[in-house]
């Protein structure tokens, strides 16, 4: 049981020397005289990631004198430590940033982002950024919708129904175009012993389904009131009540998975991909995963019947106030917005905001075609209702908890009170 002190000390000494040596090496590498350009994003395995990578390759060729340091960040890090990163000495020169009041809005309010208005004028971005897209990058006092341009959206996203074509054919169900047809389709599946909707009650899927149903009843004015506080919103009004009541009715009718309030998103998506459920209400970010995994049947998409759909422009590209290479950063943003890379995005199944319509019409990839067709039908019809958690800080957690509760007790009034009270207590 004797302990060898000398041996232990030797181990400690060797380890310390090794550790110091590695830090010495890493600090030595920073002394390169080249101009450096630090760029971050957190897209991984999406059409955006591929397109941006290609743009970055071209960018590097155009600037051989610039040392480009790309880092793949995580969504969680930018969500949790975003402002701390932006105000630190390690802030990047250009980054993808989460849109919304709580993230890009709060960073703009803290003077951590560069106003891009001069660059927009220089590169004539107003031609590609139509007002309904540009507003996602504009913030006044931290609230999205108007004012200075702090971030540039370069793609779109939306939530719609994924459906299993094989199951629709087998049970003789047509693709619904009205809410009555949708309910009839659900009833038909249920009558045949097939619970129709793969839903996650403890994850974002319930939040999106609830807001999707709200949006189906809502006007653009209602969305402005809800998102930008133009007028007070009545949480016992027809929009909110319709959603809560429909979910509780569908739940009572057994249209969801058993014990739905305990199901997480990964499970629900997998249940659809396995072919167990004919319907899933999900966003365009699931496209690539669907293409890879839902291989045992044919699937399609249709927009949720009604007035508006859940969706928006995608996340932003921002230039932090501490960026040392603002001109280079703006040049890269301009590349991403160019027709060349917008077309590439369309080809890969992303949702470009400024692609050449003639080119998009020639895209043959089935998923890309589907995604773009449904998107243009949504845009053509009415527009996008954004996301429900944007108006106030911490609203996502409240909406999720209330949604989970609604699925376990079907109490519509309690749902309205919980979500309405939180909104009222936290709005500016």
């Amino acid at each position: 049981m004797k302990f060898n002190a000398k041996k232990a000390l030797r181990v400690v000494a060797v380890a310390s020397v090794a550790a110091l040596a590695t830090t010495a090496v890493s600090t030595g590498a920073h002394a390169a005289p080249k101009k450096t350009f630090n760029i971050w994003w957190y897209e991984k395995g999406t059409a955006m990631a591929t397109t941006w990578n290609d743009a970055l390759t071209e960018f590097k060729k155009a600037h051989p004198d610039v040392q480009v340091n790309f880092q793949l960040k995580t969504w969680a890090q930018l969500q949790n430590a975003g402002n701390a990163l932006l105000s630190s000495s390690s802030a990047p020169d250009l980054s993808e940033w989460n849109k919304g009041n709580a993230t890009a809005g709060s960073a703009s309010q803290a003077n951590l982002l560069t106003d891009l208005t001069p660059y927009a004028a220089k590169y004539k971005w107003d031609k590609v950024l139509v007002p309904s897209v540009k507003l996602y990058g504009q913030y006044t006092n931290g609230i999205m919708g108007a004012g200075k341009l702090y971030g540039v959206p370069s793609y779109g996203e939306y939530v719609s129904w994924f459906y299993n074509k094989d199951m629709f054919a087998k049970y003789g169900v047509a693709v619904p175009t009205t809410f009555a047809q949708l309910e009839a389709a659900l009833a038909k599946f249920q009558a045949a012993g097939v619970p129709p909707i793969a839903l996650a009650g403890k994850d974002y899927l319930i939040v999106h389904l609830a807001y999707g149903l709200v949006a189906s009843q809502a006007s653009l004015q209602w969305v402005r009131d809800f998102q930008a506080f133009a007028h007070p919103v009545n949480f016992s009004g027809p929009e909110w009540t319709f959603a809560a009541k429909t979910i509780s009715d569908w739940n009572k009718a057994g249209y969801f998975e058993p014990n739905v309030s305990g199901v997480d998103a990964a499970t629900a998506v997998a249940d659809f991909q396995k072919g167990t459920y004919p319907l899933l209400f999900g966003g365009t970010w699931l496209d690539q995963d669907m293409q890879a995994k839902a291989t045992s049947f044919k699937w399609g998409k249709f927009a949720n019947p009604g007035k508006l759909s859940v969706g928006s422009a995608g996340n932003l590209l921002v230039i932090p106030a501490k960026s040392k290479q603002k001109d280079l950063a703006a040049e890269f943003i301009n590349m991403v917005l160019s027709t060349k890379y917008q077309n590439e995005l369309a080809k890969l199944g992303g949702l470009p905001i400024a692609a050449d319509p003639k080119y998009v019409a020639t895209v043959k990839d089935p998923v890309a075609l589907l995604t773009n067709t449904v998107f243009s039908s949504i845009v053509k019809k009415q527009g996008l209702a954004m996301y429900p958690d944007w108006p106030v800080n911490g609203y996502y957690n409240n909406l999720l908890a209330a949604g989970t509760q609604l699925l376990s007790d079907n109490d519509v009034a309690a749902y309205e009170k919980s979500t309405g009270d939180f909104y009222a207590a936290n709005k500016p």
């Binding site: 049981m1 302990f3 400690v12 380890a15 310390s16 550790a19 590695t22 830090t23 890493s26 957190y42 991984k44 880092q71 793949l72 960040k73 995580t74 969504w75 969680a76 890090q77 969500q79 949790n80 430590a81 701390a84 990163l85 630190s88 000495s89 390690s90 802030a91 989460n98 974002y204 998103a265 990964a266 997998a270 991909q273 396995k274 966003g283 970010w285 699931l286 995963d289 890879a292 995994k293 291989t295």
Partner: protein, 297 residues
């Protein structure tokens, strides 16, 4: 004199010598204990098993047969992809540096302050201990932004050494508390004998107390090592560059805002767990010594 730490751990069951004495008259109760221990260890091994079987499955296999089924065939792409995507060896080195130095400095600080409290019996020691108790119950969430601003001011932000400083201090609050309790029950006969022989406090510290509590300190160091290894929030905020990040942060790459990739997640979890398991296997002997050894040899 009984040692509270020791009796809390349950020396009666675990002491190797007692085990040998009881070998011949092992009754029903011993077997019951044995069965319970096996059962508990199976529960503890279950997550590790889940990480292993899912890390070596194809995504489609996972989709169609679920997480519990055995892999249809061995698929190592998830592990490879995660390894290269996050530059895992670099993360491993960062984590090792932080964990190792926190264990070293944390235990050293704990020992010195515990010596003052437990052996030196300084005035107001119960107040100091109470203060330390408060210090290690403060939630990290409330510390993280003050620490962020401090680290900016001392130019240690975005460096692994900032974690070494922070966690050495945070953990030494707990370490001091624990070692003070151990040293508080240190046999006074030995100390008095040393004083009679004319030993200075420094000599008592170095030649008498240190050798006896060394196994306990090793156990404490092992705990510190594994705790730092799993730290998430403070490293997340303080380490901006990927090149400085630790293993637990690199696991974040496997999930996006709405999407997650269960097989890569399992691969990441497996790679994240393995180093701690290896560390435990190497140090388990000092660990069990640390908790079974008494103050009196």
């Amino acid at each position: 004199m009984s040692n509270p730490v020791e009796s809390a751990i349950g020396r009666k069951i675990w002491s190797p010598n007692r085990g040998k004495q009881n070998l011949k008259r092992r009754g029903v109760s011993s077997w019951l204990v044995f069965a319970t221990v096996i059962l508990i260890s199976l529960v503890w091994l279950f997550p590790l098993w889940m990480a292993l079987v899912n890390a070596i499955k194809t995504p489609l296999d996972f989709l169609h047969h679920g997480p519990l089924a055995l892999p249809r065939h061995i698929f190592l792409k998830s592990i490879q992809a995660f390894w290269t995507d996050v530059n895992f060896p670099q993360k491993l080195l960062n984590s090792f540096i932080v964990s190792f130095f926190v264990a070293l400095f944390g235990v050293a600080i704990s020992f010195l302050s515990a010596f003052a409290i437990g052996i030196g019996r300084i005035r107001g020691r119960y107040f100091v201990l109470g203060l330390f108790m408060v210090a290690f119950t403060v939630p990290q969430e409330s510390l993280v932004f003050p620490l962020y601003h401090l680290s900016q001011q001392v130019h240690l932000y975005n460096s692994v050494w900032v974690l070494v400083v922070i966690f050495s201090v945070i953990y030494s609050a707990f370490g001091t508390y624990m070692l003070s309790v151990v040293l508080g029950s240190f046999p006074t006969e030995i100390l008095e004998a040393a004083k009679v022989d004319g030993a200075s406090p420094r000599r008592i510290l170095w030649n008498i107390v240190l050798p006896i509590v060394r196994p306990t300190m090793f156990a404490l160091g092992t705990f510190f090592f594994v705790w730092v290894w799993n730290e998430y929030l403070i490293p997340l905020v303080l380490l901006a560059d990927n090149a400085n990040q630790t293993v637990s942060l690199s696991l974040g790459v496997t999930s996006g805002q709405y999407t997650s990739d269960p097989t890569t997640q399992a691969a990441a979890a497996l790679l994240g767990i393995i180093p701690s398991v290896i560390f435990y296997l190497i140090f388990q002997r000092t660990l069990s010594r640390g908790v079974t050894l008494g103050a009196v040899k």
